[in-house]
Each structure stands twice: as C-alpha cells, then as structure tokens.
C-alpha cells in the first residue's frame, strides 16, 4: 500500500470551510446544500484530487472509507431542533437527508463518479490500526486499486479532516500504524 496524497485541515468554524471552498473556484452549487460533515469531506476530496488525470471519468476501482467519533450528530441535532415544536412541525427534507454519516461518502462518490466499495466507521478516537486493517481488507477485493480514506470529524467543537489517497502497490513496503499516526499528528 502506498500513500499518494494527504490532506490535513482543521477549521474554527463552518465559514472557514466555505471560504476555502470559494478560494478553489469550484463550480459545484450542490456544495452549499450539504451539511457540515459532507462539506468537509467533499472539500478535502477536492484538495486531494485536483489535478488528477482524467478526473471525473467513472471509476469502479476506487473505494471510500471514512471514520469519525461523532457520526452525523451535528446535523442530527439541527434536525431534531427543527421538529421540536409540535405546533410548528415542519420537518425539513434537506436536513433529514444528511442525518446519516455515510452520506459524505455518497457525496464524494457522486461528484467523482467513484463506484467502488464505501464504508463509514464510527470509533471513539482516531485509530491508525483500524484504518490500516480496513484499507488492507478492502484491497482484498482485487477490483479495488485505490482507497480514499479519511477521518472526518465535524461537531460544534471540532472540525477536522485527515484524508489520504492510498494505492495498492504490492512492491512497496506495508504501511505501519506508526507511520499513519505520525502523518495524522504531523500534518
């Protein structure tokens, strides 16, 4: 397994995410309709994939694997608040559709036409061992040649993303837990 690209970003608020998106001059109006988790994931994928050859050509050999500790709690809370008042009960469809964490995988897949496997794991903390094990297992499916793996944490307190583009390269030394942890901390 070989890491070809890495993105690590932290933001203080949602406006910073939008500002960075705008600075990239990406024409994808759907971005503005997404919840924070999806915006963060999509933005990171744009940073990691920009300049890629044949970008947007359909690919069945790319898997998307995401992790975080808070699931989609941010948008879940917003949605809950929107239906709290029984006398003013108007559930918002556009909030509801994001009340699952793996929607971010879908948004990245739709944007980039990735048709491979897709997983979202919820764990207490960033766990490099789990990342490596999951990516390695994904490569057992020989149709998968690349994995977009990410820790995407979006909550009131924390907005951070650590995303890697990993390719299956049997000639290269295996990734280790220490390497991934170092990358996560250093970037």
């Amino acid at each position: 397994m070989k890491i070809n690209n890495i993105i690590r970003h932290s933001f203080n608020n949602s406006s910073e995410i939008t500002e960075l998106y705008r600075s990239l001059k990406i024409d994808y109006p759907k971005f503005f309709k997404m919840d924070g988790l999806s915006k963060l994931g999509l933005l990171a994928s744009e940073l990691i994939l920009k300049g890629t050859e044949n970008r947007f050509s359909p690919r069945e050999d790319v898997a998307i694997i995401c992790f975080n500790s808070v699931s989609s709690l941010d948008i879940d809370t917003l949605y809950q608040e929107s239906i709290q008042n029984k006398d003013n009960y108007f559930p918002s469809p556009s909030l509801f559709v994001y009340t699952l964490p793996n929607i971010v995988n879908g948004e990245i897949a739709i944007r980039n036409k990735f048709f491979g496997e897709s997983f979202f794991y919820i764990c207490k903390i960033f766990d490099a061992r789990q990342v490596i094990d999951t990516v390695r297992k994904t490569f057992h499916d020989t149709t998968i040649t690349s994995v977009l793996a990410a820790w995407i944490e979006y909550s009131e307190e924390k907005k951070e993303v650590f995303m890697m583009w990993i390719e299956n390269d049997n000639d290269v030394m295996e990734l280790t837990e220490e390497q991934i942890n170092k990358l996560y901390i250093d970037y």
Binding site: P29, F32, K33, F90, P91, S92, P93, S94, V97
Partner: protein, 85 residues
C-alpha cells in the same frame, strides 16, 4: 402579484440554499425543474414544506406539485388562489 413573486424568489433562495443566486437572476416564467436553477427531488420536497409553512397550503397529491411548481409565476397564482395564511 409582483410583490408575492419577489417574496417567493427570496424564500426559494433561502430554503434551497441557492448560494450566489439573486432574485433578479431568476426568471419567474422559466421552469423551476429540469433546467435553469437545476433543482432536484429534495428541493421539490422543500418547496412543498414551504407552501404549507408559509401559506398554509397542503399539497396532498404529489402529482399536483408538477403543475404548481412549473414556474414561480404559476406558484404565485396558485398561492393567491389557495392560501389560508
């Protein structure tokens, strides 16, 4: 009617998060779906909620939406004829 059309444009921009779109950018006679604003099925559901929340109009038949949401002008005419608030 012009006042309602402008109000509708602003409400649609707000509820559908149409970033960078101004009321004057929207042709009130142009189709809302399929071209122009590029709205999708979730947007259609948001418009149904908007009709009920702001104007007290409940669209029980999903097919009715196809006619009502043809354009903002048609929406405004429907609201004027059927609003309860």
């Amino acid at each position: 009617m012009d006042e309602l059309i402008l109000k509708l444009k602003n409400e649609i921009i707000a509820v559908l998060n149409l970033e960078d779109v101004k009321p004057e950018d929207i042709d009130e006679n142009a189709p809302l779906f399929g071209e122009g604003l590029g709205l999708d099925s979730i947007d259609a559901l948001e418009l149904i909620v908007l009709m009920e929340k702001e104007y007290g109009i409940k669209l029980n038949d999903p097919n009715q939406g196809k006619d009502v949401f043809k354009s903002i002008t048609i929406m405004a005419e429907f609201i004027t004829a059927n609003r309860t608030k």
